[in-house]
């Protein structure tokens, strides 16, 4: 493989892996709010 092909591949894979890991881990770690729809609608009103 040429160095420019390696560079394109490495850069693209790094960007994709960085965001997929970052977002997925954040989603795993962040607890879900347990407010129900009715509670939300009441507050919103």
């Amino acid at each position: 493989m040429t160095w420019s092909a390696w560079l394109t591949l490495a850069l693209t894979w790094s960007v994709v892996l960085y965001f997929v890991i970052r977002f997925f881990l954040k989603a795993l770690k962040t607890p879900v709010r347990e407010e129900t729809d009715m509670e939300f609608l009441r507050k919103d009103a």
Partner: protein, 548 residues
Amino acid sequence: MIRHQEKWGTRIGLILAMAGNAVGLGNFLRFPAQAAQNGGGAFIIPYLISFVLMGIPLLWVEWAIGRHGGLYGMHHVPGMMDCMGKSRALKYAGVFGIFTNLGIAAYYVYIESWTLGYVWYSVTGAFTGMTAEEVSRFFSMYLDTGSGGLINLNPISVIFLLLTLSLNIYILSRGVSKGIEKTCRIGMPLLILFGIFLTVRALTLKAGVSGASHDALIGLNFLWQPQPASLTNPKIWLAAAGQIFFTLSVGMGSVHVYSSYVKKNQDIALNAASAGWMNAFVEVVLGGSVVIPIAVAYLGLDWVQSNVGFEMAFRTLPSLFQNWGPLLAALGGLAWFGLLFFAGITSSLAMGQPVMSFLQVEFDMPRKKSALLFGLICLAMALPCVLFYGAGCFGEYDFWAGTFSLVAFALIEIIVFAWVFGMDKGWQEINRGADIKVPVFFRFVIKYITPLFLLAVFLGSMFKPENGDWAAAAARLAQGRSWNLAPDSVLGTVLNKGIADKRFLVDGRPTPLLFVTATRMFLLLIFTGIAVLVYKAWRNHKHPKEEI
């Protein structure tokens, strides 16, 4: 009208279901072909730019429309669109959100059934000892297209279709959490595992090892070698934008419907970004590392350049796996077709739910009954694809439901969201309960850039010139002349540019034009029928907008 009580069980389940919806056969079959035909490494630059300026914003918009509709009990696209503004016509834009899913599911489930069939054949060693020509012929026999007959009917392929359809119906009838979510929680990790196995195997293939005649890295180089000159070619940009479009399953209505089961104060911004990037990972990292490198290792770059395409997965790969020895060949086949099967079923389930939720919400139909009805409609619509595969019915479904409708609906929905619903409310909707801070820059992108991007894709597909040569078309336009339309442009398709014989019958036998025209009429009938059902549903009872 009944109010749905269904919800997603877990956040990860929802992300995997959304990612499963997006990850489909196209990630492994369409992406490598598109990249190879459009500048290799240079393709990835417009691809990523399109992802950020069109893909991610559209995902946020669709998640927001879905969650907003779900708040009013609207778990189907006509109802969600109706909630976006005062106009009564808005609900009819949502007809696309049912039609597209039905139209795509009809042929998609058929391809999905091939992958199930090929898992079976791979595991039972059916390809052992076959030559490359025999494996290719096997596929023609499987579809019954080799005999040149008018009707293509192989009972085995019909059995696998019925099996696949039954499995879809069963899972859908179990509900959003117990059916779809559970399947995606099993299917997606398995798909990634199979993908990693094949990627490692593909990238370690060297000339002289396991029967390979070239290094697989030559294939990878072909895919990633940048060709900067192609960046100025509009054809490459349209191809990249088109790929982003189809790979994320936007413009279909399935994202909206899944999102309508998200609780109203829960995050959508992070969930949408997670699912979108996961799809990009499967496509760019795994999808780009399997088919082309393996094919190049055994058949050489020249062969791949002239043969790369959708059917390669079935016609070519099983014979190449045979070079790995009986056990690895079976494992390779299981991983490849298993991966395609999971990619397929997690997407086809997402196509079923929008149809079911419309029947459930508007016609008070129980879940199991609506799943069965979806299956029956799907089967009825799939039959022309199966029986007249060689006559062009399949291509018509793919073009009108799987290509044109997606772009048309995405363009409509982004305009409705940004300009009818309004960016103030829209931005609030995207950010409500968000677990990440969405950069304010995207507010501008959603309002101006994404609609313009989509308009360019829409007009580009309408008026695509012959050979995709936009430079020549622009030169002709400057001289005040029109250009020749490509046969696969929307107008070229309507005018039957790609069909030489314009007669319906020759010696009493129907021509491809007759089949193509009949299929278009059939699809138009389905679209009209759904619009009539929407009209009836709104006439039968009040909807949230009328009650407010």
